[in-house]
Symmetry: C2
């Protein structure tokens, strides 16, 4: 039978195919997890929707938790932003706003993590440790952004107040989707309520801002709500 | 065979016994639900711990959800406080503090509702409707308490800001225990963190208070943290 041609080309072709299958598994898993909750989706269901064999799926991910972990990892990369020291109060406000915006969009994109959080981290110590690391990093980023605002003269808050604000930002952003879904119970409305979530999170910082900074934040927020 | 004696006495005895069994079922169920999560406790397990027959338990509650609903109902009664118009700024602050304190203690006492919330209300429409009613009522109470503070000259906030504050109070108090348990993962620390939760919730209102009211709230909060 035909021997593979010499050289790297066929191997590359395999590597590309492998990578493409892996990417397809991840994006299909994300879709199904978000739709039905990770607890209600089996590896078999993912393979079946992709029309690949379970064996092919297991070749890429040894079980469903391995898929969840990889998605967790991608989520972490999305929100793992290092804030750069801003040059003005105005820049500091835009940095804060951009970060909160980015964080809430990422939470929406990976919402299965948040809707089934207790269950996911309750079952799996590694996921719990991973999630704690994400929370700690987000907290540190929010604190750094607030410190920049204080430094730029746009915010008045003690270090203790900043820690308290950052914790509340984390609680409200982590659970906003769950809170909204309790009340509305369907996804379309939950997406519409993401803007509302951003508003609620901004409101945690707003009372500590000077008048100009507060107006600036409100303008940015309004654009987001209208989008 | 012995006929029951005439008069109400023996019937009363039965009624008292019936009431006592019902109360024992409820308090044992609350204990087990809080320990293990409602999803992991069967009616049979409750009957077995109480050393009564499953039939006897079913006579009082047709299934586990009926027990959960009754506990929900008791929780609602605990937090269903009608605020009375306060006579001074100082009274208004104490009313707010007392209410937040009461709400957080009730949440701790019925913590199984909060740790397994998505799961509980996802499975049962009646529980969901019930929970929404509780949230709406709490929100209205927090808004009324803030309005009293504004009226007494102790707080500066627009009606829109008050609605936003009330929503954040609800999100933080509803999910604080879940947030903490993510990080610490055991119950003793979670109880210790209840004081911290109260602090986080008060911090949502504090920046809108005048200096005297803010100091008053801090004094009350410190007493709570030290208790």
């Amino acid at each position: 039978m035909a021997k593979p041609a010499a050289g790297a080309a066929p191997l590359d072709g395999n590597a590309v195919r492998t990578e493409r299958t892996r990417a397809r598994i991840l994006s299909q898993a994300l879709l199904l997890f978000n739709e039905r909750g990770a607890a209600h989706v089996t590896s078999g269901a993912i393979a079946s929707v992709l029309d690949i064999s379970p064996g092919n799926l297991y070749y890429h991910f040894r079980n469903k938790d391995a898929i969840v972990e990889e998605l967790f990892h991608r989520f972490e990369e999305r929100v793992g932003v290092e804030p750069i020291a801003p040059e003005s109060a105005s820049e500091a406000i835009e940095d804060l706003w951009l970060y909160l915006h980015l964080m809430l969009e990422a939470i929406w994109e990976y919402r299965f993590l948040y809707f089934g959080l207790d269950d996911l981290v309750g079952r799996n110590r590694r996921l719990r440790a991973h999630f704690i690391r994400i929370v700690d990093r987000k907290s540190a980023t929010v604190e750094a952004l607030c410190e920049s605002l204080v430094h730029a003269g746009a915010m008045r808050a003690t270090p203790g107040e900043i820690r308290t604000i950052a914790r509340n930002v984390l609680v409200v952003s982590t659970y906003w989707l769950s809170f909204q879904s309790l009340q509305v119970g369907d996804e379309t409305s939950a997406q519409a309520s993401l803007g509302q979530g951003a508003y609620q999170v901004m409101a945690l910082v707003a009372p500590y801002l000077g008048v100009a900074a507060r107006r600036h934040l409100e303008r940015l927020g309004r654009r987001y709500l209208d989008a």
